[in-house]
Subunit: 191 residues, 2 copies
């Protein structure tokens, strides 16, 4: 087990057979020491990155942390709600279903911030069904950017996101890969 | 002018007499090099911090960056929407009006993540009327935490947030302080 898997064993709460609660260290309270180590490790798996793409909210901290180990490349985060100053005519938009919220929402990125041939690394805190990640993949494809890979903090392998990403031929790295939950316990995938 | 003020002059867009658009480097695309420098400078103004409190979305990256210069203290970000796994019975909740969105929404923090007497530094990307910041202040007060200060990336001084924070006797530091907008130009406050 790596340090993140150990932390999940210690502080993660298995809510049911599908959902793991990690808000004491990952997506409500953030353990910044852990984040620094996870980001350094994930960043070491990739090179040739011009830009990091994520989606609000919980991915942002990790996207910035990974950037800090890849030459401080810019981070772009897809937004979920529009403000008075959103330029509606210049957006990549994608419909995305949230796994834990059971709702569907639009995510968007201003077209100015992903350029043709830019080498983009997609980052997110969780990979479940892969809806958010595949939404970002689709936006990068629309922008004719090059997808260098996908970096995930915690992956729930049994929910299918991995399969969708690999089918696209995209390089995927997850810091912790969960095989399944059994009796409220987390079973990690063999490496 | 400091490096952030120079960047605002160069890439910020004054939308009207109240709103500055900085999404090319601050709150949609993030210039991580700039973020590192801003966070180092803001962190240097505070010490004795146990925890950093912010609110999703755009404050998160800066909260983590400041933490990295204050011993990697934990970051807690208030959330704006509940998920299936939110523990409804254990929340500090506050109603907050958004300045740029003209909507009102609830922000909440799980009570487990702010403790009595914890020395909290509140961080946000923007200070306008101070609604979000004062919401976080109220939550810290409810938790009987100690508010060490408020660190802001860009402050629009003429919108009143500063006054509300200082009236509470709270130490406020902003990296860029905007006095006003004149003919679509940004005028910074005298230091």
């Amino acid at each position: 087990m790596n340090l993140l898997e150990e932390r999940i064993k210690k502080d993660g709460k298995v809510i049911n057979n599908e959902i793991l609660k990690v808000d004491s260290f990952l997506n409500h309270q953030i353990d910044v020491e852990l984040l620094n180590k996870v980001c350094k490790e994930l960043a070491s798996k990739f090179n040739g990155v011009d830009k990091i793409i994520t989606v609000e909210t919980s991915g942002i901290a990790y996207a910035v942390g990974i950037s800090q180990h890849l030459g401080n490349v810019p981070v772009v985060f897809a937004k979920k709600s529009k403000s008075l100053i959103t330029d509606e005519k210049n957006l990549y938009v994608k419909e995305v279903k949230s796994f834990t919220r059971k709702t569907s929402s639009q995510i968007y990125i201003d077209k100015s911030y992903i350029k043709e041939n830019e080498r983009c690394l997609i980052v997110d805190d969780f990979l479940a069904e892969g809806n958010a990640t595949m939404g970002l993949v689709a936006i990068c494809e629309n922008a004719k950017a090059v997808i260098t890979g996908v970096a995930i903090v915690i992956e729930k392998k049994f929910q299918g996101g991995r399969k969708r990403i690999l089918e696209k031929g995209i390089h995927l790295e997850s810091m912790a890969v969960i095989e399944k939950f059994v009796n409220n316990e987390v079973i990690f995938a063999e490496k």
